[in-house]
């Protein structure tokens, strides 16, 4: 089935996007990402360790940028200015790479997004030529505003970052999906393969996750489970589920030909 995810003019076969944080080591990171089938991987931009780093392996050696589409993020940024600065550095770091994940946080305790700063940063980044995939709350109005600004994908949370609480407001997600003309990806809060499948059945174009895989007891196995869940959820959405009825009086087996007493 030819069912590709289009983001900023590029087609992807996988609808699962994964983070690269919180793994035991780079070997496990790589094994989990291979099992997930993800083609887009998020990375953070941080100060380089100066001193005692010679020969130390780097993430890029395990995940060559030629093999994956990097999605540099602005995790840890609490203002539009910091987020824009971080992504300009990322663009330089990745040779002019334009596809980025914008997230501006509002509170270190919950990591809830600050949508006012997010909107300000999105405006600057779009004007500056970036392809912006934007993490936001599940507020349909904000999601629409971010689309109107020119973001290439909107990524509402299912629940708080790293919480694994699953989809707390499927109704809001449904409104966002209905209103959007750009891809909608659930980002943050997925805890299990079931959550990922539900997100796809709602009609999401994709799911971005990190902790659900990295913090599983067996991250590589969970990565494989997520791959299947995303595919199953997508196909279930496309196939169109049967309507829900309290009861149907329409059994699955024939009502005629029953063996009856003569």
């Amino acid at each position: 089935m030819n069912d590709e995810l289009m983001i900023a003019g590029k087609a992807y076969q996988s609808r699962l996007l994964v983070g690269t944080g919180k793994y035991k080591d780079f070997k496990e990171t790589r094994a989990a990402i291979d099992a997930s089938g993800a083609q887009i991987v998020t990375v953070a931009i941080r100060r380089t360790n100066i001193g005692q780093t010679a020969g130390e392996p780097s993430l890029l050696e395990y995940l060559p940028p030629e093999e994956f589409t990097y999605l540099p993020n602005t995790a840890g940024c609490y203002s539009a200015d910091d987020a824009v600065r971080t992504l300009r550095l990322a663009r330089e770091l990745l040779d002019g790479h334009k596809l980025v994940k914008l997230e501006v946080l509002g509170d270190p305790k919950t990591l809830y997004p600050n949508v006012i700063e997010t909107i300000a940063a999105a405006k600057t980044l779009v004007k500056d030529g970036f392809d912006v995939m934007v993490y936001t709350s599940d507020d349909p109005i904000i999601a629409k505003q971010l689309e109107d600004i020119g973001c290439c994908a909107v990524m509402p949370l299912a629940s708080l970052i790293g919480s694994g609480m699953g989809i707390l407001n499927p109704w809001n997600l449904q409104i966002i999906i209905e209103n959007a003309k750009i891809p909608v990806l659930v980002d943050a809060g997925i805890g299990s393969a079931a959550d990922a499948a539900v997100a796809m059945e709602l009609g999401c174009d994709g799911v971005l996750m990190n902790t659900a895989i990295a913090a599983a007891r067996d991250p590589v196995m969970m990565a494989g489970a997520m791959k299947k869940a995303i595919e199953a959820g997508r196909e279930s959405f496309l196939a169109g589920r049967m309507p829900k009825k309290l009861y149907s009086a329409s059994p699955s087996s024939p009502t005629s030909g029953l063996i009856t007493a003569a």
């Binding site: 983070g19 944080g21 931009i45 100066i50």
Partner: protein
């Protein structure tokens, strides 16, 4: 001269060091980096030509695991 790298004071013996020379001195040769000097990004193509002066503030960043 004294410069600041990622917020830390660093003393360099020589004056007039290029960014490229600094990368070698810091043992970062071959690493994929982006560098900001006094708040402005220095494109990689200019690493050989841009000099570092006393008091400069540098940010040196790389890509790390993240979600």
């Amino acid at each position: 001269m004294n410069i600041f790298i990622n917020g830390n004071l660093k003393q360099l013996e020589s004056e007039n060091v290029t960014i490229s020379a600094l990368i070698v001195a810091l043992n970062l040769t071959g690493k994929r980096l982006a560098i900001e000097k006094n708040g402005e990004i220095v494109p990689r193509s200019q690493f050989d030509s841009v000099n570092i002066c006393d008091g400069d503030k540098l940010e040196i960043v790389s890509a790390v695991g993240g979600g």
